[in-house]
């Protein structure tokens, strides 16, 4: 007899739907003829110098636990990098926590901040974990839709309209997965003012911040007046250094927040794997060159994709960052789900339906351009053909 989920599974878990990405993943799985623009990670392996540092660390027998916060040498390297890159100063001894990817840091932050019923504002479409992470921490997710007419950037006025006395936190992610959107400094300043005014903590997931194109600027909200003391700055190595599988992220925050997050991390994860931490140190010491080469490759592919979307008559705004394009397929009259499924059936191209990232993504498609130029060209030919056939 199998277990009765109603009886044995926590209510909390039963309420959370499966990720839309997983459904789609299962459709694609087992088909080897598919060109996939469906990934959310670099198509490069981690640069060799980073892999070599990890191997050397294993050879030396570095296989122990580290401090709960992470290796001090890594925290010091991060403090230097964050200071230089984002103009933010954190004390490596008490204000930086190394986590297993940014995803863990987000989970820790929500669990550290929220009491049951506390509201968290997030912008949507967004990374698939935000809403469930809030719910798993017994918070109430409050989505603010970003709009196609604003190139999916966030407007402070929309955030303001969502603030209630129960709002405890706002989570921001610019450049954004899945849209590639960036945010105006003006809007960021207005959101910062709101946060200060209403005494709200801001989680700023800046994992894509190195991957910007055509001179797009990036400001961390933590640098704005009154913000450092209420911001959890989240970053990691997965995207810029192509280290997704190493699973290293970090949170920089005032000591009281870092300490609270560390408590949970200590009793659940204990510490991030030492091999990955050593690899991350190498990435910060010598990784700038290879990272810039990869960024340049993404920039070229982004140009390719935008040219091809324009040629095919598919509306698509020029994304300022990340490695995603978010074309508008509403003219076909199809839902994102139908479009993506039929595109997969008819043309063997996998793109993730926009609504997998929240209902406001419906009518759009996430196309990841971290793929070889040959497969991008072929995929774009097929998408163009499919679009022409289905446009009403």
């Amino acid at each position: 007899m199998s277990l009765d989920p109603q009886r044995h599974l926590a209510q909390q878990i039963q309420k959370i739907p499966r990720s839309g990405i997983r459904d789609f993943f299962e459709l694609v799985l087992g088909r080897d003829d598919v060109i996939s623009l469906g990934v959310g990670e670099p198509d490069f392996s981690s640069p060799w110098h980073i892999r070599e540092a990890a191997i050397y660390s294993l050879e030396r027998g570095e296989t122990s636990y580290t401090s709960n916060l992470g290796l001090l040498s890594l925290r010091e390297a991060i403090a230097g990098y964050v200071s230089e890159t984002f103009d933010l100063r954190y004390d490596p001894k008490s204000e930086i926590l190394i986590t297993v990817g940014v995803s863990e840091a987000i989970d820790l932050a929500f669990r550290a901040l929220l009491d049951p019923g506390d509201e968290v504002i997030y912008h949507e479409p967004c990374y698939v974990s935000y809403n469930p992470s809030i719910a798993l921490a017994y918070g109430v997710p409050v989505a603010v839709a970003t709009k196609p007419e604003n190139d999916f950037s966030l407007k402070a006025a929309d955030v303001a309209a969502a603030v209630t006395p129960k709002t405890r936190a706002i989570i921001l992610n610019f450049p954004t997965n899945p849209t590639g959107a960036i945010i105006d400094r003006k809007e960021l300043e207005a959101i910062a003012k709101l946060a200060v005014e209403h005494d709200i903590v801001v989680l700023s997931d800046e994992i894509y911040s190195e991957l910007r194109y055509e001179g797009a600027e990036h400001t961390s909200i933590a640098t704005l007046p009154g913000m450092k003391e209420r911001t959890i700055f989240l970053h990691g190595f997965s995207k810029a250094f192509a280290m997704t599988g190493f699973r290293i992220g970090y949170a920089c925050a005032p000591q009281v927040l870092t300490e609270a997050m560390m408590k949970i991390h200590q009793y659940s994860m204990l510490c991030a794997p030492i091999t990955s931490q050593v690899a991350a140190i190498e990435a910060l010491r010598h990784g700038a060159g290879p990272a810039e080469e990869m960024r340049q490759a993404y920039a070229n592919r982004r140009n390719l994709l935008l040219t091809r979307f324009a040629d095919a008559g598919i509306p698509c705004f020029a994304p300022g960052g990340a490695f995603y394009a978010f074309p508008d397929i509403r003219a076909t009259g199809m839902s994102s789900q139908d479009f993506a499924r039929e595109l997969l059936d008819e043309e063997s191209v996998a793109c993730v339906p926009g609504d997998a990232f929240g209902p406001s993504g419906d009518g759009f498609l996430r196309c990841c351009y971290a793929a070889s130029t040959d497969s991008l060209r072929e995929a774009m030919t097929r998408i163009g053909r499919f679009y022409r056939k289905h446009i009403s």
């Binding site: 990405i21 598919v34 996939s36 469906g38 340049q296 070229n300 592919r301 996998a350």
Partner: protein
């Protein structure tokens, strides 16, 4: 850094239109720039990169360290240019350190290279000595690794 040349160095068979797409430029613009770079000699030519172990497994390659007697006025240049003129010399560099020229020679087999060294190179006036090192196995050439493991499996869809 010239973006166009970087792309071309990775794959010289890309058409001007394809290069233009990657750079977000007009194809005619790319054509004009390439013509100018060819004319001023920045682009010296285009060639195929072959896996020599597949294409010509019996070919031999040697790195030859050559010591020269420098000449008044011209230094090493006249003699180095004479050495470089032999068609079997694929590359020729003036080096710092214990010897003067590094000469890379290719031949149909080891004997052909041995003959070139003993009968031609070492007998030239002004050549003081040679030390020949034969290449045994290639792990990486022209920036490309030989026999790299096949494509890695990646998840087709991920968040």
């Amino acid at each position: 850094m010239n973006q166009l040349l970087e792309l071309l160095q990775k794959n010289a068979r890309q058409t001007d239109a394809e290069l233009a797409e990657l750079l977000g430029r007009e194809a005619t613009d790319v054509t004009t720039e390439l013509a100018a770079l060819e004319k001023d000699g920045t682009i010296m030519g285009y060639s195929a990169i072959l896996d020599q172990e597949r294409y010509a497994p019996n070919n031999a390659t040697a790195m030859i360290e050559v010591r020269l007697r420098p000449e008044r006025g011209g230094g090493f240049d006249r003699l180095a240019n004479r050495v470089a003129s032999f068609p079997q010399v694929k590359s020729c560099f003036l080096m710092s350190g214990a010897y003067d020229l590094l000469v890379i020679v290719e031949g149909d087999d080891i004997r052909e290279i041995a003959r070139f060294v003993s009968e031609t190179l070492s007998t030239m006036n002004g050549i003081l000595s040679t030390a020949t090192h034969f290449q045994l196995k290639t792990y990486k050439a022209n920036g490309l690794r030989q026999s790299v493991p096949g494509e890695l499996e990646r998840l087709p869809v991920s968040p």
